[in-house]
């Protein structure tokens, strides 16, 4: 889990990780919206091919990129399959399974293919964001965008405790699995550990003078020259995407 948790790569120092998180968030959200609205087939293809190249240049292992893309790809292929056999009126080929025949339609195939491309292109954008921006930076940007501080605070705590509980969960799940009852015991153990940990953490936080997170604590840096350059490049990409819609 730690390997595929792509936040790890966002901790590295390179041109893209140094860019302001606010810029990247706005860019990726707009890019996803424009990609979904795109009518040209080559646009998603360009994104699908170029994002992994950018990530490889940042020395993200190919195995990790493939691993991350595999899950949405499986779902995308299922959607393609359903659409091909389900939707349309122009038959392209028939599949005979015993007495039953399935007909694939041209319209369904086209529609499914477009969905597959959009899924993979949007996933590539998210991959780009997550591999270049760590969650704490994203949450700080969220606080700057006036997201509720309480939500951000719980998000921070969740992020912190995923790694703590992962270790505990690993120990618990490595224990021999005897029966269905063991499942409950495993989950119960994690819940008890989580509860005790929450009390201990709260006390420790109070002793260290912790106060609630609020907008005043946002320490976003001012935009640098590299950020302005990024705005220009991102702007060009967005205009190109917008023209394809």
């Amino acid at each position: 889990m730690n390997d595929i948790f792509s936040d790890y790569f966002a901790q590295r120092d390179n041109f893209l990780t140094r860019l302001d998180a606010r810029l990247k968030v706005v860019f990726v959200i707009m890019a996803i919206i424009l990609t979904l609205g795109s009518r040209k087939v080559f646009v998603p293809w360009c994104i699908i091919l170029s994002v992994p190249v950018i990530l490889l240049s940042l020395k993200v292992p190919l195995k990790i990129i493939i691993h991350r893309i595999c899950a949405p790809l499986g779902i995308a292929l299922s959607i393609l399959c359903i659409q091909t056999f389900y939707y349309g009126g122009t038959p392209i080929w028939r599949l005979h399974i015993g007495a039953l025949s399935l007909t694939a339609y041209a319209e369904g195939l086209r529609y499914g293919y477009a969905i597959v491309l959009k899924i993979m292109a949007s996933t590539s954008w998210v991959l780009f964001l997550s591999m270049t921006t760590s969650l704490p930076k994203l949450l700080e940007a969220g606080l700057w965008f006036k997201l509720p501080p309480a939500w951000i605070e719980v998000c921070f705590l969740t992020y912190r405790y995923i790694f703590v509980l992962l270790e505990d969960a690993k120990t618990v799940f490595d224990a021999p699995f005897r029966s269905l009852r063991s499942l409950g015991v495993l989950a119960g153990t994690i819940v008890i550990k989580a509860y005790d940990q929450s009390i201990a953490t709260y006390e420790a936080m109070m002793l260290r003078g912790y106060k609630n997170i609020n907008q005043d604590l946002v320490t976003m840096e001012r935009f640098k020259t590299a950020d302005f350059l990024a705005v220009f490049i991102f702007g060009l990409i967005l205009i190109a995407l917008g023209m394809s819609c």
């Binding site: 969905i115 969740t158 009852r181 409950g184 929450s198």
Partner: protein, 337 residues
């Protein structure tokens, strides 16, 4: 014709299953699947629940100071449980539970939606599990539907005095199935094109059955087992989170009831004559106007101490019954608990 159609959907679903079985992330709708208008609609539906959750944090933190930290940890628990691969023998693959059954039972449905939204965001960003545009749809299916299904089933069964394991089991089971039914609906509503939405909904639903039917049962065991385990080891956790109400001693109940009875009798005695009932004011009055005055009752309990005697008899019979069944009513139940 109907048989052929059913067979067609079954074969289509089987293909869907074979393709989807390669990964364990079928519960979340992937990035880019939903068209923008549908993605926006699901965002709008999810938003009020998340806002309500954010507002409730403050109130809950005032009662329980470490509640916010607990929520953070609960988010991590959901994250881990919904990433936990569980082997599904019928489909020959791995899938994963929702985890919202556990959180809904422990921290309530609204807080469960809040932590689910956080777990889903982190999964979407860093594991390609779900997506940013489909975040709203995923919150509705896993957070809203899963949590409410779990919470209400748990509470209803608790009211019906069902065993704790059964309450948790049904909560986990329904949380999982409700999530998948909603995911199927979300996919079908967005992707049906010019064809019937219902038929695509059934296709996707049938496709989920080989993995989700057994997985729902497994999640039931997970949630039920968790509640019982925590109750046995650390009942204070369930009491402090309000999952199980502390048993109020019978004597407090009896004293309260007696005080209420006494107060009502005193008030009645003071108000005697001031507030005649609807029978006297309306029914008797109109009956009299129509020439149908009230008859003298065949058994007139107003005469002598007859009413008192009847109450005495009822009390004695009730007391005898309660005494006769005392062990069954109280001792055995306590022992079982």
């Amino acid at each position: 014709m109907a048989m052929k159609k059913t067979a067609f959907y079954l074969v289509l679903s089987a293909i869907f299953c074979l393709l989807a079985s390669g990964n364990a992330w079928a519960m979340h709708i992937s990035e880019g699947i939903l068209p923008m208008k549908w993605a926006g609609l699901w965002y709008l539906i999810a938003l009020p629940f998340v806002i309500k959750g954010v507002r409730d944090i403050k109130k809950k933190t005032e009662i329980n100071p470490h509640f916010k930290v607990l929520l953070g940890l609960m988010g991590a628990v959901i994250f881990i449980i919904s990433c936990m691969p569980v082997p599904v023998p019928t489909a020959g693959t791995c899938s994963h539970p929702a985890g919202t059954g556990i959180s809904a039972v422990l921290v309530g449905p609204v807080m469960s939606i809040l932590v689910t939204s956080i777990a889903l965001l982190i999964q979407a960003l860093f594991l390609a599990h779900g997506g940013l545009t489909t975040w709203g749809a995923d919150i509705v299916s896993m957070g809203v539907m899963g949590s409410f299904a779990a919470y209400f089933s748990f509470r209803i069964l608790q009211k019906l005095k069902a065993p704790l394991f059964l309450c948790g089991f049904i909560a986990g089971l329904l949380a999982d199935w409700a999530t998948y039914a909603t995911t199927s609906f979300e996919l079908a509503s967005a992707l049906h094109g010019s064809k019937s939405m219902l038929s695509l909904f059934y296709t996707i639903l049938v496709a989920f059955i080989p993995t989700q039917l057994p997985l729902g049962i497994l999640e039931g065991f997970l949630t039920g087992g968790m509640v019982v385990f925590v109750y046995k080891r650390r009942p204070d956790i369930l009491h402090s989170l309000g999952v199980i109400k502390k048993a109020i001693p019978v004597c407090i109940f009896a004293l309260g009831f007696a005080a209420l009875l006494l107060a009502s009798q005193t008030a009645l005695a003071q108000e005697q004559g001031k507030w005649p009932g609807v029978d006297v004011n309306v029914v008797e009055k109109f009956a009299q106007e129509q020439g149908r005055p009230a008859w003298t009752p065949f058994i007139n309990t107003d005469q002598g101490d007859l009413l008192l005697f009847v109450f005495l008899l009822a009390g004695a019979a009730g007391g005898f019954m309660a005494g006769f069944c005392w062990r069954k009513l109280f001792c055995e139940r306590e022992g079982a608990q």
